[in-house]
Symmetry: C2
């Protein structure tokens, strides 16, 4: 299986088993371009009518519920199941990239003995290979078991680092990008080495810059007299109870708060509301990744607790959406 193999055999047989006539297909941005080909092949192989979701799709938390209502099966590509949803079948897409060259680089940078191994679903099938490689080089590897939102041992999401709750000296993250490893560094307070199988290189993440940025955002928000508390309309990003509690706490302190429901949290949508700052209870990545785009401070719930004086500045950490015990 490689990055372009979408497991057509499995798709075809599921459609056959369920005698599905109407089939929905949902892809994250990086895979949408393959969508038309998959739709065509599905139609040709099974005779089912296909409907593609054209809306954005940021994770397993972001299922197209309107399309789901109109089809017999909705195939959701590229993400691992977070929780079972009626009619939805998750088709994970795995990368065939060789992880060893990047791990070899990472090995040189490791200082500790016990190494926590973490990755995203794209590389999760390679964790055994990674463990073997590092063990052979004298390391003890720990692959943590996540909570109920996590399907595989060692798998992280942008909003969930529960697999990093292990007693390791430091972590190796197999994958691209800085968001996940930064989250692990902030969640655990430990060194995180990125072994990037796309670039075949390793690097240590440096959470100081982002921490400084967050401190600046919090400091700005201290003067805010009104807050918009954003609630996501995406089913598995919706933390309405949390938003309501934050509102109540703020109102007790005579801070003006408004709960605002949103699907896509975009700067131009926020600009329509005249508040001094926002708190996002939606996907934790929004406040962090889009910080440069927002004209007003957008805090995570944890950061808002600091503003409210309920949490100490030293207790800042990445916002996570955690599940129960798996």
């Amino acid at each position: 299986m490689n990055g372009l193999d979408f497991d057509m055999g499995r798709i075809t047989s599921i459609i056959g088993e369920r005698s599905a006539k109407k089939v929905g297909l949902q892809f994250p941005a990086g895979l949408k371009r393959s969508g038309l080909k998959i739709a065509k092949e599905t139609q040709e192989r099974t005779g089912a009518i296909t409907y593609i979701s054209g809306s954005s799709c940021y994770g397993a938390c972001d299922v197209d519920d309107v399309l789901r209502a109109y089809v017999d099966i909705l195939f959701h590509f590229g993400h691992a199941e977070m929780e079972p949803i009626d009619k939805v079948v998750f088709i994970e897409v795995r990368s065939n990239a060789d992880i060893i060259p990047a791990l070899r680089q990472a090995l040189k940078m490791l200082k500790g003995d016990s190494i926590g191994l973490v990755t995203t679903v794209q590389h999760v099938h390679k964790l055994d290979e990674a463990k073997d490689f590092l063990t052979k080089h004298g390391k003890t590897c720990i692959v943590g078991r996540g909570d109920s939102r996590i399907r595989y041992n060692g798998q992280v999401l942008g909003c969930n680092f529960s697999v990093a709750c292990v007693n390791a000296d430091e972590f190796v993250y197999i994958g691209s990008g800085d968001f996940h490893p930064l989250g692990i560094a902030l969640a655990t307070g430990k060194r995180v080495i990125v072994a990037d199988p796309t670039l075949n290189e390793a690097r240590e993440v440096e959470p100081k810059l982002i921490l400084r940025q967050r401190h600046a955002i919090i400091a700005k928000a201290l003067d805010a007299k009104s807050f918009g508390i954003i609630v996501s309309t995406k089913r598995l990003q919706m933390r309405l109870g949390m938003a309501e509690k934050l509102c109540q706490k703020a109102q007790k302190r005579d801070i003006d708060t408004h709960m605002i429901f949103m699907d896509e949290v975009k700067p131009e949508m926020l600009a329509q509301f005249k508040v001094d700052a926002f708190v996002s209870t939606a996907c934790p990545r929004i406040a962090i990744d889009d910080v440069a785009l927002f004209k007003k401070p957008v805090l995570t719930p944890i950061e808002f607790e600091i503003v409210l004086g309920e949490r100490d500045w030293s207790e800042i950490k990445f916002d996570e959406i955690l599940g129960g015990t798996r």
Copy 2:
């Protein structure tokens, strides 16, 4: 009542009558800035918790169904009810602008005797006054009755000019912007004079330019070998049956078509799909208003029928979403 009076008395009494504890508020872009004030006032007057919809809102066709699921009542501002929806109360917002100065200008430009009077919901309460004024100046006025999507006589929507199905020599449109009057001109083939109470001026709309633009788009699409047929996920913009029929017709002609469900139809969302052209069965305004933004031809269903050879070029007209008999 003026443009800033949101009928708080009615809102308060409806909340009281229904003993609503959780109240949703939804506003189109132009009214969102007033949303916080209304939310606060609602909370203070009634004790209900308010939740504001932060997503885009383009019309009565565009109700925030996710928010609706979480509240006892959803107040939807600025649009007239299109069809009853459980829990939704439409709060129309009327303009207090004096229409007479603009009508006086329009009067000078009229050539015919019988005048069709049309407007949007903001000015619909002024149609009697307009009729009186023009009658006094020797004109016969006709205020048409629309179909089931239209609440008031003489009221047009961006997607529905059914009130213009009357035997008038020409039309006077009271309101701003060119989209509605252009639609009427194209739907009826008659002169349309805009009496704009915001600018206090009158002008004749000129549908030739837009027609030429549409002809160019159709001509470009004639070479297309693959089409994305866009289906809106907004409940009263969804024309799935129409999309399916267009797909079948095209496939019979060996044209590759794909049905794509979308909430917001934005250029960057379309760019993710490698087809040669699109057909939008969503809001008719999208193909017309955003023509300059799209990199590939985006046709209306009527225009696609021309491409398929099922309709003559001379039969081009504005796409409308029509209802049944009212």
